[in-house]
Structure formats: structure tokens, C-alpha cells
């Protein structure tokens, strides 16, 4: 069941760290808990990563060899400055907001329809796992035929929150992206199942 605005606010105001959701920056008076909307907006951050063009015919993220993987290039765009995403272009971005999720809460990042209808895709892997503590990385792509102009700070997407039930006690909240501020590619770590299946 998705949380209402009021329920989200209660999570933000909770004194108990087992339940507390932290969203920062959260601008005072910028959103109403009495709205019928069941999401909160996220805004575009300043750091971007885009794949550097290279001579290789393909990337191999499964190889574990950085030389065969996507070569990332970083960019910082300050508040107030415009930039464009060209047709077919892909880049990683982050939310302006840092989120700290308790272990009994998760979320989905969904694009805003006003931008989606203009061919801007902002996310492919949309789940924000319980215990997430970082800015959220967005996978942005322009599916249209003309460039789209954007600025950091634009309300780029929205988060729908869900309670997670029957949470087992966890000794470690390890995630590859915990504590990160920049859009990272991340290392592809094969699970035991994958290693087994890929070795057949």
C-alpha cells in the first residue's frame, strides 16, 4: 500500500530512527501533507555522469574488467545553468535530495508525466531499497527527436513510498551506493546463482 502525504510526513517527523525517513533538503512550506497526491517530488541534482565514447564495439559489464566496461565522464552543472539532453543521449544524474530510508520503508522512483510526455525518461531501475542512504541515481534518456533543455533543481521525478513488512533484523546495511553523492556506475557483482547459471 502506498503511503499518503500525511503518512510520509509522519515518517519524516518520527523520533524513532527505526521508522524515520530523512529527506534533505526539504524546503519548508514547499509541499502540503494534505494533498491527495501520494508522492513527493525529487529535484535534479548537479552531478552527471555520461559514458565516454570509445572505440570498443561493445561494453562488457560482466567481465569485472574496468577496461571493458563503460568509461564514465563526470560533469558538474551549477544551479541556474541550463543544459540539454540530445535525442538518444543517455546520462546518469542524481537527485538533489539525500534520502535515508529506514529498513521498513522502500520507494519507487517514477518520472513526472509532464516531462515523460515530452520523451524524457528518467529511470530504468526504479526501486529504492529499504535502508538506502544516499542521493538517488537517475538514468536519464531522451527518447524523442529534439533536444530537451533542463536545469538542476527542476522537479524531475517523484517518489512513491511503501511500507515493508516483517523486516528481519539486519546486522549490516551494506550497499554499493551507500553514502554516495555522485552518480556512480557501480561494480557488477555476480550472485552465486548467476555464477552458477553463467558457468553452465
Amino acid at each position: 500500500m502506498a503511503l499518503s502525504r500525511r503518512a510520509i510526513k509522519n515518517r519524516i517527523d518520527s523520533e524513532d530512527w527505526e521508522n524515520r525517513l530523512v529527506v534533505d533538503p526539504l524546503f519548508e512550506h514547499s509541499w502540503s501533507e494534505d494533498s491527495v497526491s501520494a508522492s513527493i517530488d525529487v529535484h535534479l541534482g548537479n552531478r552527471f555522469t555520461y559514458p565516454k565514447s570509445r572505440r570498443a564495439a561493445q561494453h562488457d559489464p560482466l567481465s569485472g574488467n574496468p577496461a571493458e566496461d563503460v568509461v564514465p565522464r563526470e560533469l558538474f552543472i551549477p544551479m541556474g545553468k541550463e543544459f540539454s539532453i540530445n535525442p538518444g543521449q543517455f546520462l546518469l544524474a542524481t537527485t538533489l535530495e539525500w534520502f535515508r530510508f529506514p529498513t521498513n520503508l522502500m520507494a519507487y522512483v517514477i518520472g513526472r508525466s509532464v516531462l515523460g510526455r515530452r520523451s524524457l525518461l528518467i529511470v530504468t531501475a526504479s526501486a529504492v531499497q529499504p535502508g538506502t542512504c544516499n542521493t538517488i541515481t537517475l538514468e536519464m534518456s531522451n527518447l524523442g527527436e529534439v533536444a530537451i533543455k533542463l536545469k538542476p533543481g527542476v522537479a524531475i521525478g517523484q517518489l512513491f513510498f511503501h511500507d515493508v513488512t516483517e523486516v528481519a533484523p539486519v546486522s549490516s546495511l551494506h550497499s554499493s551506493f551507500a553514502g554516495s553523492l555522485r552518480p556512480l556506475l557501480g561494480e557488477y557483482r555476480k550472485s552465486k546463482t548467476e555464477e552458477f547459471l553463467m558457468s553452465l
Partner: protein, 490 residues
Amino acid sequence: MPPPWQLSCLQSRLRSLKIEINRVKNKEHPYPEPEIVFKALLAVVESRQALIDEILDLFAPDAPPPELLQPLFDSVVKDLADVAYYFSLVDRVDSARIPFEILRSLSWVSNLLLHEDCRSVVRLDPHYNYTISSFRHIFERLGWEREWSHAIPTGCNPKTTTVLVLGFPSADASSILMHALAAHELGHEFIRPLWTRIEAVREDATSRVRRKHQDALQEYLVERSRITSAKDPSELDEALNQFEPWKDSAKDVEAARRPQSHGDAYEASRKSFELNLAKVINNWFKELFSDLVAARLVGPAFLAAFDRLVVGETQPYKTHPPAGMRRKFVRDYLCREMSLIMQDDVWKELCNPYENYAPPRDFFWKICNDVCSFSLQGLAEIVEAVPSPLKIDNLKKYVSETQMYIENLAPPSAVHSADPVAPADKFWLLIFSSWHFRLNQRRFVTFAERFGWADNLAAAEEAIGNLLLHSLRSLELKYHWSQKVLEGGH
């Protein structure tokens, strides 16, 4: 008079420098602040170019008189060298490794501290060092005020607008906790209007030290004059080196070379010594005062960051006191002025070893050391002019609340403190708080284990740095938002 070929070289240099500055100026920079510096430097180059061209045109086809052209030529060559140097300080301010998130909030707190319109820019310094350059003051010192005025955006006051270029060590650009040392660099700018008072403290301390070491000083100067007056000029530098270990300026060497009697030799040696002493003490006072400014702003967190930059002990230099002396100086200040903070075990563990500083044995450095030690009281009174966020009543509570957030890997800027803390104070307090958390071994290791960094404490520290960086930017954004709300904009 410069030969025609050299004139031609000068004109080529002017042209190529102009092209290069323009090229860098037109690059896509994350922030517009460096543009002021590029425009001002271009204005200098263009005005010198115009001057040379005008002179050559006026006297074409005859050569201009040498008494006119040579000094002009020399002056333009010097200006070119200065332009090239200062251009090199701002031509690489766009590396993605720079923590740009901090720039606007750094400008914001710099404005409040220095009462100027400061636009901060960070460059990656190839040396493992922090530096600061205030470009308005540089342009004023070089007599380029007009060019600076023309580069300032409309509506801004050229007499109070400056671009602060902070150098962060390239090898540690991402070590956000270390950038607490920016507080020391701001101290170098804060010191300007207070220098007369600081000089008075210096004079007083120097007199006291002279009285204390009167006999030893006399012997030292006699020995110095005896050794140096007996030397051939070619051996003079080496002779002086054993007294003050650097080469005297040519003027001093010249003065030391021509004594007519023992009395003259002694007097020349004494003057040379006094000159060197004044130079060194001035430099050391600037560093120590800036250390005190940093101590006022971030407390013992400054020493924690300093220990990362300067690992272990250093010898005295004419530009900087030995590291051990600086640590003890700041510790003594903190124990006196912030005794409650210094009772905390985390800071005690950091600072107690600093008490074991042994002053240098070499007589000259010992004198310098003593002058500085005698000055602590005087400098402490002057540095009261820096408003200290660590003096707030609810410090312990605020730090405790922020560290609860850090422990849960949440930005400490999200703290809703029941007792309000001024936004600019929060900037420095978050640095203080983050370091305190980092140095609390038990708490830090528990934090690292919780998030899967037990085998990689560097990653845990990096996460704290990211939280701090995010928080410093968030503070500034929320401050401006609250101002807009107050103005009725939202």
C-alpha cells in the same frame, strides 16, 4: 633600448597570452566566478598591448627614444610575468574532482566573515598545500585597479567585490574533512585590517624576548659580525647561512660587505639580523593568527585536519613556523578559550601529545619561537573579533543531534533543532561535528561496521565527507529559501 627582435617577441607574447586567456575564458566553466578574473587579466594584457603599439606608432618610422622605451618595455615584461602567473592560478578551476558543491556556501560564509562580496573558486594545487588568493587585493597591489573595476559585473562594488581562489591539494581533493583547513586560509584574508594591532603585539613580544636573551643575543651578533666581516664576498652567503639559514637579500649582503671597523661590522650585522627576524616573525604571525582564526571557527577540528596535511614534525622555515609549535600554540589557545570543549575525551586524545613540543635549539629559531609564545595572549585578544560558533549555549546538544544523523548516514543539515542555530554558524559546526564523530574511534568503527565498511575505513570516512559536503550545500540552499519566504516570494 630593447632590440627590435625583443620588441617583436614582446608583442607575440602579448598576443598569445590574450588568445590563451580568451580560450580558457570561453570554456564551459561550472561557475561564472572565474570570468571576472579572466576579464580583468585580459584588460591588463590589452592595455599593455595598446600602450606598446601606440608608442611604436607615434615614433614610426623612427625608433622611440631609448629613455622612454626601455623602462616601458621592462614594465610591460614584468606585467606579463605577473599576468601569466596569476592566470595559472585560475586556468584549471573546472576539474570534476573539485567539490563544487561547497563553493557557494563557502562564498556565503566568507562574505559574513570578511564583510566583502566574496566569490569563491577552488583550484587543485599540485603541491600538497592549501592556499588562498584574493584577486581584488592582488590587482590593487599591482596597480591594476582600473582593470579590476571594469571586469566587475554591473551593480557590484569593485572596492568590496573579490574572487577568492582557494587552492586545495590535488592529491586530496575528495577529502572533504580536510577542507576544514579552508578556515585557516580565510584567516589570511581576515588578518588584513588587523595587521597594525598584530604588529604592536609583535613589537612588544620582540622587546621582551630581546631583554630575556640579552646576553646570548649580544654574543650571537658579535660572532655573526666577526664571521661575516672576515669572509670574502663569495663566501658571505655560506657564512650567513650558519646563522640564518637562507640567503640574505643582495642589499644585506652588500651592507655586510663594507664595514670599516668592528663597530660598523657589528652594526651592519645587527641590522641584517633584525631585518631577517622581522621578516620571519611577520610570516610566522600570519600563519599563527590564521591558525587561531581557524580554531575560533572549527575548534580542535582544525588540528585534526592539520595533522592530515602535515604528518609529523617539520623544521622551521622562514615562511612557516614548525608544525609542532603551531599545534601547541593552537592547543594552548583552545585550552584557555574553549576549556569545556577541550575536556571532551576525543579532543584530549588528539591534543594532549602536542604539549610535548620541544622548541628548536638553533638560536635564531629559538628567538622566533619565543616571540611567538609571548604573543599568544595579545593575538588571542585580537582574534576575538572572529565570531565563534563554538561559543553557542546549545553546542553540546546541537553536536549530539547532528552526530545522530551522521550515525544513521543521514545529512546532519536535516537536524531540526528546537534551539535555533544561525545558518552560517551551522556551516562551521557541521565541520566540527563531523570531525568529532570521525575521531571517536568506537563510534566510527561501529558506523563503519553497520554499513559494511569494516574492512574499508577509508570508504566510511568518504561517506562522512559526502554527508558533510551535501549538508554544507543544503544549508546554503535552505538559507536562501528561507530568505525568499521571508520576502514573501513563496
